[in-house]
């Protein structure tokens, strides 16, 4: 019989349960992570990451980029995929479940530790006009997606997740937003799929557009970085256009990276305020479960501000990012295990429509602005 948490709680550490209870689940996450990614300190060469890397080499690069990178294989995706397969093929034993609940500890832990990853000074080199432009495009994309999503009558958790991920251009954001927006696993993964599908299609079509518009390498790099975002797909587009554009895409990617928290925090606060403004509207579900501003978001924001002052220097930053990889590998394993395939498909095709619609609007706006800047000799890039 499930004893309510409040009854068994003795201190805040009670959420960790007992070792005996969590060990099987923890081990399951641990081994999935270990066989998914090449994690710091793990010498295991038999990982999904290595398998994909070998397949990359067998298939050969696409636009000089590894195919599985274009398909977004990364430290979140790999364990998630493995968890999904294990969960759907073998099911999830009951004994694992207490341990798997640690995902709720790992998520805020990972999100906060991501803070040192977003450092504004890394983007400064691109120049203020471009940074402001990128910021404006990000907010614009978020707003358009939120409005369109509402117009399409979608679940607000679903469309706001898409808005966050699409505007920041990073599929990882769906995982970051999950505990913030209180979205469901299926919605998160559906959003992830939509973003990836859009990025994949866009990354092959964008070079055609670039050539048709006769864009220069730098402008096209900006278009692919802010029009697609997802790193592997951005590089696929940019290198598909030209080597030079590819190199500039690497250069400008730091701007997108530095602005990313602003993007997902924007979406969160919009949804959070909306939930406060319409407390009785049953259709408003995103962030509804938060009674007040969650503490971990406050801590994340503080950490994000503090790291801007280079309190944490480079090797420490890398070490913390290695911990983030561990953390999200474990969490993604638990998330993968939790999802029956039916739940992902349940969200339907509306997510895809939304993503493509706002993604295309963004590309159009970006391209128009870049061409205008080139025409009027405005020093945007």
């Amino acid at each position: 019989m499930n004893i309510p948490y409040e009854e068994r709680r003795r201190s805040f550490l009670s959420c960790l349960y007992s070792t005996q209870e969590i060990l099987p689940g923890l081990l399951a996450m641990f081994f999935i992570a270990l066989f998914s990614n090449n994690l710091a300190g793990s010498p295991n060469p038999l990982t999904l990451e290595n398998l994909f890397s070998w397949l990359d080499a067998v298939i050969g690069p696409v636009n000089h980029q590894p195919l599985f990178q274009i398909l977004n294989s990364n430290f979140v995706w790999n364990p998630f995929l493995m968890g999904l397969v294990i969960g759907n093929v073998f099911g999830v034993p009951d004994s694992w479940k207490r341990g798997l609940s640690l995902i709720h500890v790992l998520m805020p832990l990972g999100i906060i530790m991501l803070a040192p990853h977003f450092i504004f000074s890394h983007a400064e080199k691109a120049g203020m006009p471009l940074i402001l432009f990128a910021f404006a495009v990000m907010v614009f994309t978020a707003v358009v997606t939120l409005v369109l999503g509402r117009a399409l009558g979608m679940d607000d958790r679903h469309y706001s997740t898409i808005a966050g991920a699409l505007s920041t251009g990073d599929p990882h954001v769906v995982a970051i937003l999950m505990p913030m927006l209180k979205s469901k696993g299926g919605q998160v993964i559906n959003a992830l799929g939509c973003i990836l599908l859009f990025g994949l299609v866009a990354s092959f079509l964008l070079p055609l557009l670039g050539h048709a518009l006769d864009m220069d390498d730098k402008a096209f790099a900006v278009l692919s970085v802010f029009g697609i975002g997802n790193t592997g797909q951005t590089f696929n587009a940019a290198f598909g256009f030209s080597y030079e554009a590819g190199h500039w895409a690497h250069y400008f990617d730091s701007v997108r990276n530095a602005l990313m928290p602003a993007g997902f925090l924007f979406v969160f606060f919009v949804m959070f305020l909306r939930a406060r403004m319409f407390p009785d509207d049953a259709a408003v579900t995103a962030t509804r479960a938060h009674k007040k501003l969650p503490l971990f978001i406050v801590v994340f924001i503080i950490a994000w501000i503090v790291v801007q002052f280079h309190v944490m220097k480079e090797p420490a930053r890398i070490a913390v990012f290695e911990l983030v990889k561990w953390d999200f590998s474990l969490a993604a394993a638990a998330l993968g295990l939790s999802l029956p395939l039916s739940e992902i498909t349940r969200c339907g095709l509306r997510g895809v429509i939304l993503t493509f619609a706002s993604g295309l609007v963004r590309i159009a706006v970006l391209a128009a602005c870049l061409l205008a800047a080139a025409h009027f000799n405005f020093p945007l890039v």
């Binding site: 090449n38 010498p43 060469p45 038999l46 990451e49 290595n50 398998l51 994909f52 890397s53 070998w54 990359d56 080499a57 067998v58 050969g60 690069p61 000089h64 980029q65 450092i119 000074s121 890394h122 400064e124 080199k125 590089f235 290198f239 080597y243 030079e244 590819g246 190199h247 895409a249 690497h250 250069y251 730091s254 280079h310 220097k313 480079e314 090797p315 890398i318």
Partner: protein, 965 residues
């Protein structure tokens, strides 16, 4: 800039086209296309360090090379020998050491080899040629010729069929030989210029010997070339089985018994069948220990027993105690050259494969085996497999299998060359696939396609020698923009007190040619064309993250100006001085000598920075040069030392000193090296060459103290006795008399008011003194008349080419002379110190360096540093930091002032950097740094092309890294 590059590329291409012989010629020893793609990593071609039985590290690597291919009418053609697999060890492999060697991706051991020395007589060739000297494909290359006292000496290399050569050697039949070096052990300190220049007609290099008979500047004849060759090599493809030896008893090995009976000089080893009643093989074996001579042809038979008809070779090894239960690699801790404590073991090698030089590969007759020996040690260094017959690739048949490899699972082609898109005379898509089905990127990097399918895949060191003709163009031609390698950020930046004698770290971006750093062809009075060029090097800089600043340590920034060879007086030669052409007038040199000192062997002491620590350097004077003992070998247990003279810039002197004592070919030694060394005016005579240090009895090398130059072009004046000519604003030069027969001329310098300032007789310029031109400063000074009254220093010199003409004497006059004096502040900008560098052979100016004596600090408040000021007061270049956050440099560039315009370099921190190291411009100094880091730079260039991060062990590589060792 592009024009210059284009002309450079065209020249390189022309050289490539015309240096070799007709198209049908064998590709052996020749370079692939200069712009061929290089892919550093393909999983199936391995690159890894293993250790042998003695714990000595062996760097092994494999590569696939395609050269001399062509694409025409939809067909790609590769000539016989054009597709070449190379397996290489940076050191060498010999029997009885369990030396590892890669055989098409498989880890094998060399267990036996048959070596001999090939001698070729009477080889003649012209400058620039690479002529075949034997059927195997060895080539002799006449790289270039230069002179001492107008007598030629020539720079050669013997190129192995693969294209590898260890070093260029200089020989000459025109100078005193090394054996004529007199005892100079009494000399100490600065002595005046010595008369003799030495150069030996014989280059002795361990197992090799090259003797020149006669030569001039354009052609040479060698009376003999001898070099080691390997006729046969046997490899074992499995770990050996090791059994503790028990005397008078047998050990079971599969279905055999191995008996060992003790005798006075070893063990009589007997291999029998299982029952012990039938002896399959029997021999008296001596235990193997670490003495090097045991692998000599006449010795080695006593140490192994091969069982006829069986895949089995037995040796008795003395295994150190700690190796007893490990039949494989010892730990990686240091193992002494010999050990005292050992167990006797029977070592049985199996899975033996014997390959013969020039014969088909056992698994695949389409490929011919090549075995190449180290020219120094005569031991196996390289195994090549080449296609025996030419082949073509086209639409119908778009791939060609590499040689079939031995495998535990499935013998299959080790790689496959595929050209799957050929349109007319261009190939649009081709790649190499390895034995694990992994492929490279499309080797035709752009849509334009290529006219050949040449390529180099893998990290075999042969890459560096094979690209000698084209590497500079490769690195300097920014096909994909200026490549910047991102830094590895650590908590401990390498804090350098002074960067003199250190080279810049290999990650420093190379900007290539840039307007503002001159590079041009100049012609001297004798009509010799020389390249003159200048550049900038920043070395040893670091981000001091605790103080939010960038530091360039003393001597960390230097301006360099250098010509293709030394700059000579009396010839009207010019060099660049801060963007302007300067004419050298005169120079002052000495011979720096030292005696009775020790040089310790230099060991790399890792301190987590990219700058090694050179504690063991022996300084040669102050800020002049240092001696560094960089390499050592045991040649049949006799130590051989390689000592380098390192210049102030961090580059090595062209000719390292290879020294070993007590070797003699007459007494039957396999090796010979001179026991002393002399080249030009530099010599070294060791008292004792040890394994770990060398005691030097006497050493000397030229050192330059100062040079004088002017920006005004020297003017020729033809004067009859009594005639005069203005010499600057304040003086006139007047010829008093001359004696054509004696070669003398008496001149006087008068002030404008008519008063006599000074009189001098120049000369004599006769056959005797000409024999010391142009290098000897005593003779140079006797032909020059310098005069200084504090305002405007002037100089008149005899025209050495045509001193007397139509009853008149000819002079060149120099006005407004400026002085560059070593270790003093630069006159035009005292923030910089002058460090002139001498030609190590010949006392003349080789390079002008200007560097910072104080650290340069850059931070947010001071993001700009101006380099030395030119004559017009503007800095020649400036360092500009555009984006620096106290930790990482995100953007910085170099600006130059050229013809009233400002030119900017690309962002030299395109990927974040933790230093402002850079190489800008192209001259000999920068070329030296580039050559030393060619492999890494080329690899980074490739990562840069595709935006990949430096290869980490991922995918199958990670798996292989764990599987083996």
């Amino acid at each position: 800039m592009n024009k210059l590059l284009a002309s450079g590329a065209a020249a390189a291409l022309l050289c490539l086209l015309f240096s070799g012989a007709p198209a049908a010629e064998s590709p052996h020893g020749l370079a692939p296309a200069g712009d061929m793609p290089f892919i550093p990593d393909l999983g199936g071609l391995r690159h890894k360090a293993f250790k042998n039985q003695y714990g000595q590290q062996r760097e092994l690597s494999e590569a696939v090379l395609v050269r001399k291919s062509s694409v025409k009418n939809g067909k790609a053609t590769v000539p016989a020998g054009g597709l070449c697999y190379i397996s290489e060890t940076q050191e060498d492999a010999a029997p009885f050491r369990r030396d590892p060697f890669l055989l098409l991706g498989e880890h094998a051991y060399l267990v036996d080899s048959k070596t001999s020395v090939r001698s070729v007589r009477d080889v003649s060739l012209k400058k620039g040629e690479k002529v075949l000297v034997d059927n195997a494909g060895y080539r002799l290359w006449f790289d270039y010729a230069t002179d001492h006292y107008d007598l030629p000496y020539i720079q050669m290399a013997l190129i192995a069929p693969s294209g590898h050569w260890p070093m260029e050697f200089s020989v000459s039949s025109k100078f005193p030989a090394i054996k004529d070096l007199p005892d100079r052990s009494h000399m100490e300190g600065d002595v005046e210029q010595l008369d003799e220049f030495f150069l030996d007609p014989v280059f002795e290099y361990g197992a090799s010997r090259f003797e020149v008979k006669d030569h001039d500047f354009q052609k040479a004849t060698f009376s003999s070339l001898s070099y080691p060759v390997i006729d046969e090599a046997t490899f074992s493809l499995s770990r050996p089985v090791v059994l503790d030896l028990r005397q008078e008893e047998y050990r079971l090995y599969g279905t055999k018994r191995i008996y060992a009976f003790r005798e006075s000089s070893g063990f009589r080893v007997s291999v029998t069948n299982l029952g012990g009643d039938k002896i399959l093989a029997e021999k008296l074996l001596r235990p193997i220990s670490s003495q090097g001579y045991k692998d000599a042809e006449n010795e080695k038979d006593a140490y192994s027993l091969t069982v006829p008809g069986e895949d089995m070779r037995v040796e008795i090894a003395v295994q150190p105690e700690w190796l007893r239960h490990s039949d494989f690699m010892p730990w990686s801790d240091a193992v002494p050259h010999d050990w005292s404590d050992g167990m006797l073991s029977l070592v049985v090698y199996r899975d033996l494969v014997t390959v013969k030089n020039g014969e088909p590969w056992p698994l695949d007759p389409r490929y011919t085996v090549g075995l190449e020996a180290s020219l120094l040690t005569g031991k196996l260094q390289r195994l090549t497999l080449e296609n025996a017959e030419p082949f073509t690739l086209d639409d119908k048949n778009d791939s060609y299998d590499g040689p079939v490899k031995y495998s535990d699972v499935w013998n299959r082609p080790a790689f496959r060359l595929v050209a799957d898109d050929i349109e007319g005379d261009k190939v649009k898509s081709y790649y190499v696939r390895d034995a694990f089905f992994q492929r490279t990127d499309n080797l035709s990097f752009t849509d334009r396609g290529r006219r050949d399918i040449d390529c180099f895949i893998g990290r075999a060191p042969t890459f560096v020698s094979i690209l000698e003709d084209s590497f500079l163009t490769r690195l300097a031609t920014p096909k994909f923009g200026t490549e910047v390698e991102g830094s590895h950020f650590t908590s401990f930046p390498s804090v350098m007190p002074n960067m003199a004698f250190h080279s810049p770290d290999p990650t420093a971006p190379f900007g290539g040619l840039m307007r503002g750093f001159g590079r041009e062809q100049v012609t001297n009075r004798r009509g010799e064309r020389l390249t003159s060029s200048e550049g900038l090097v920043i070395r040893g800089s670091y981000v001091d993250w605790k103080n939010n600043r960038i530091v360039i340590p003393p001597a960390g920034l230097f301006y360099t100006s250098r010509n293709a060879r030394n700059v000579r007086a009396l010839n009207g030669e010019t060099f660049y001085m801060l963007g302007r052409r300067a004419y050298i007038a005169t120079f002052e040199s000495t011979t720096f000598t030292r005696r009775n000192f020790d040089i310790d062997f230099w060991r790399v002491q890792p301190d987590a920075s990219l700058h090694p620590i050179y504690w063991q350097d022996q300084p040669l004077g102050v800020n002049n040069k240092v001696l560094r003992f960089t390499e050592k070998h045991l040649l049949d247990d006799r130590p051989m030392a390689q000592i380098n003279v390192v210049k102030y810039s961090g580059n090595n002197f062209g000719a390292p000193f290879e020294l070993a004592q007590g070797l003699s070919r007459e007494q039957g030694d396999r090796y010979y090296l001179h026991d002393r060394f002399a080249e030009g005016a530099t010599w070294i005579e060791p008292e004792f060459v040890g394994e770990d240090y060398v005691r030097v009895k006497s050493f000397g090398t030229p050192a330059i103290k100062s040079v004088e130059y002017t920006y005004e072009k020297p003017v020729r004046a033809l004067l009859a006795p009594g005639e005069e000519k203005a010499l600057g604003k304040n003086h006139t030069l007047r010829l008093v008399s001359f004696d054509e027969a004696a070669g003398t001329a008496t001149v006087e310098i008068r002030r404008n008011d008519g008063s006599l300032a000074k009189t001098r007789t120049l000369g004599p310029l006769n056959a005797k003194t000409r024999a010391f031109l142009p290098q000897h400063q005593r003779v140079v000074n006797s032909l020059q008349f310098a005069f200084d009254e504090g305002k405007n220093k002037v100089l008149a010199e005899m025209d050495v080419k045509t001193p007397f003409e139509k009853g008149k004497a000819a002079f060149y006059t120099y006005t407004d002379l400026k002085k560059l004096e070593g270790d003093t502040p630069f006159e035009g900008d005292p923030r910089f110190m002058v460090r002139p560098d001498v030609c190590g052979h010949c006392y003349q100016l080789n390079e002008v360096l200007l560097d910072n004596p104080e650290p340069i600090i850059l931070d947010r408040e001071h993001p700009r540093f101006d380099g030395p000021r030119m004559a017009d007061g503007k800095p020649q270049f400036s360092i500009v930091i555009d984006s620096f956050d106290g930790e990482m440099i995100h953007a910085w560039h170099i600006e130059t002032n050229y013809r009233k315009r400002v030119f900017k370099s690309a962002n030299l921190a395109f990927q974040p950097r933790n230093n402002v190291g850079v190489l800008m411009g192209v001259n000999g100094t920068i070329e030296g740094f580039l050559r030393a880091s060619l492999m890494e730079r080329s690899a980074w260039q490739e990562y840069w092309r595709t935006g990949a991060h430096p290869h980490s062990e991922r995918g199958l590589d990670a798996w292989l890294a764990h599987k083996f060792q």
